[in-house]
């Protein structure tokens, strides 16, 4: 493990330096609502257990314009919205959300069609994660291939050692970022050992442990299982779980008319739980009730996505559990599936 040591003042200084040259996003507290936002000073940063809205929305915005179109001389001119070529720093991302980006990467960069909007931003982004020392009962990252101190998806990982911070270098990108900064000390052996100690404690404190080893195979034979008819009943079909999920990436597109001869194509988040998500132009809806939609959510995350990308499309952050208006708990559903 290689890293640098900062005290609180030095960390603020480091971040303020970053702000001078790059766009820095970090968790803030806006009247009680915690989310990631662009900061102009390190004093705006608010570290809570987990922000309400995940950092997903920085790289995959809730609403973005893809291109504009204009009717000119009987022809239609398209102008693509180019993602700005600027360096972005995402600071304070928990390991679960960082892992979420890896999962979205796979979906958005596979095959012939690359999602240039997301990928361009991703290329320009350095992720400075913050390790999670006190996982909650609703966390289950270790059950889905992650860890509270996971290094997947981060370029640098910040550890809170009490009176000081250790900024661990994880990737080459991260190394390049702090390589030139000589004024911060290198992490000593004792510091590294402390990180290893708190990492062990954090992992062991994980209360929710789900046995999901063969869930993909299990679900292979469960498409017509009567279980789905029971599970979906209390779901009201809103989009809270999908919107807050760090790995959900479904979107819708529509055109907004600006004048009679110009408009723009806009992309917005969509949710497989919305009743009209699969409504086809013919009027046919292959997922007409909540049963099909709940089944879809579970199959996508734990069967279809693993088949395509060799990974479970869930990072165990627990937001869907805490924020679901009717307390439909994914852990309960997973246990039911595994014991079916």
């Amino acid at each position: 493990m290689k890293g640098r040591i900062f005290d609180k003042a030095q960390l603020s200084e480091f971040i303020d330096d970053l702000i001078k040259k790059r766009k820095v996003y970090a968790p803030i507290n806006k009247d009680g609502l915690t989310c990631f936002s662009e900061i102009k000073s390190s004093s705006e940063i608010y570290f809570d257990f987990q922000s309400k809205l995940s950092s997903k929305e920085i790289l995959f915005p809730r609403c973005e314009t893809l291109f504009t179109y204009k009717r000119v001389d009987g022809d239609v001119k398209l102008e693509e919205m180019k993602v700005k070529d600027e360096e972005i720093v995402l600071f304070g991302v928990p390991p679960c959300e960082a892992r979420g980006f890896i999962l979205i990467d796979k979906a958005f960069s596979s095959g012939e069609f690359q999602d240039v909007y997301y990928l361009r931003r991703r290329e320009n982004t350095i992720i400075i994660g913050k390790s999670c020392q006190y996982p909650r009962n609703t966390c289950f990252c270790t059950s889905v291939g992650g860890s509270p101190f996971g290094r997947e998806g981060v370029d640098l990982l910040l550890h809170d050692l009490g009176e000081k911070y250790l900024l661990e270098i994880v990737s080459k990108k991260g190394e390049k970022l702090i390589d030139y900064i000589q004024k911060y000390e290198n992490a000593a052996e004792t510091d590294i050992k402390m990180v290893q100690r708190i990492e062990k404690v954090a992992k062991e404190s994980m209360k929710t442990r789900l046995e999901l080893k063969n869930i993909e195979e299990k679900l292979d034979n469960m498409f017509e299982d009567p279980l789905w008819k029971i599970i979906y009943q209390k779901c009201v079909g809103c989009g809270v779980c999908t919107y807050l999920c760090p790995t959900c990436y479904c979107f819708d597109m529509f055109d907004e008319q600006v004048t009679s001869s110009e408009g723009k194509r806009i992309r917005i988040w969509d949710s497989c739980q919305f009743p009209l998500f699969t409504l086809q132009g013919s009027g046919e809806n292959p997922r007409p009730t909540g049963k099909e939609r709940m089944r879809q959510r579970m199959m996508h995350k734990f069967n279809y996505y693993p088949k395509n990308y060799d990974d479970i499309a869930c990072v165990g952050c627990g937001r869907c559990i805490r924020e679901c208006p009717v307390n439909l708990d994914i852990r309960e559903v997973l246990n039911k599936i595994m014991t079916q």
């Binding site: 609502l33 809270v240 988040w269 919305f274 009209l276 208006p325 009717v326």
Partner: protein
Amino acid sequence: MLMVDSVQTMRKIAKRLLEEKSVNLIIGYERGTLPFRTTPCFISDVKEVDRLIWDVTCENNLAKYLKDRGEKIGILAKGCDARSIVACIVENQIKRENVFIIGLPCSGVIDRKKVESELNGKEILEATISDDEIILKGEGYNKRLPVKGFLDDSCVSCKHRNPPLYDVIVGEKVLEEMGDDEFISTSKIEDKSIDERWEYFTNELSKCIRCYACRNVCPLCYCEECFVDQNMPTWLDKTDNISDIMVYHIVRVFHTAGRCVDCGACSRACPLGIDLRSITQKMVKLVKELYDFETGLMLEEVPPLATFKQDDPQEFMK
């Protein structure tokens, strides 16, 4: 009657209904997966009636689950929930003979967000809930909180704690406390100037992420195709522009005019804690002031926007 005694009565009733096959399904509340939560439950097996519970965390409006069910259902309904059921029957979404209402006289449910705020966001590891007090334990704290101090705002000013319609009632009716200003959620905003009000609402609603939790938990929002999803013509865009967000909320609240019972489910469902009742309650107040109408009290009521009086107020007309 203590809520814990009510639970026994409720379970007996449910058991009898299922055994006699008076209903095919009971919709009620059961313990949730987090220490301080209950969740809707659907019971068709008489052996499972002991899952049913009743306490101050039973916050969901179960009337949501009654639409489009051909069978006879038994449903546990607080005062506001029963009013929603009446409103749905009046609008022909539910058949009266298909629903057996097990009425729950209610003294209010807890606002989880107020409790979370009191705990500074710390995780609740253990919760003991009684009628007057909740004892919450977590990392480094052990707090006793009075239920009365943490009631949901819709419960503080509630005037219909007993279900106005029921087939059987669990325990005795509770006192309909008149309480303070029934419309306090709107009064404090009406006192502001017009620009202050606009600023307040745009500020609050700018947090909205259009997850539609507010719409989806409302028993009266049952349209197969909501106005937000209509195109040809498109009523409003789904962008995060504040104008679109405001229009969504204004129109949604307008669509609940004369139908909203102020149960507070929308406000509680919002993941961002937007105080939706500051707008929904205004519509309830307007309907009461202008047309002397309160939704969901009688099966014979006529929705105020489906009728008129010759002398309806019209000073605003030129």
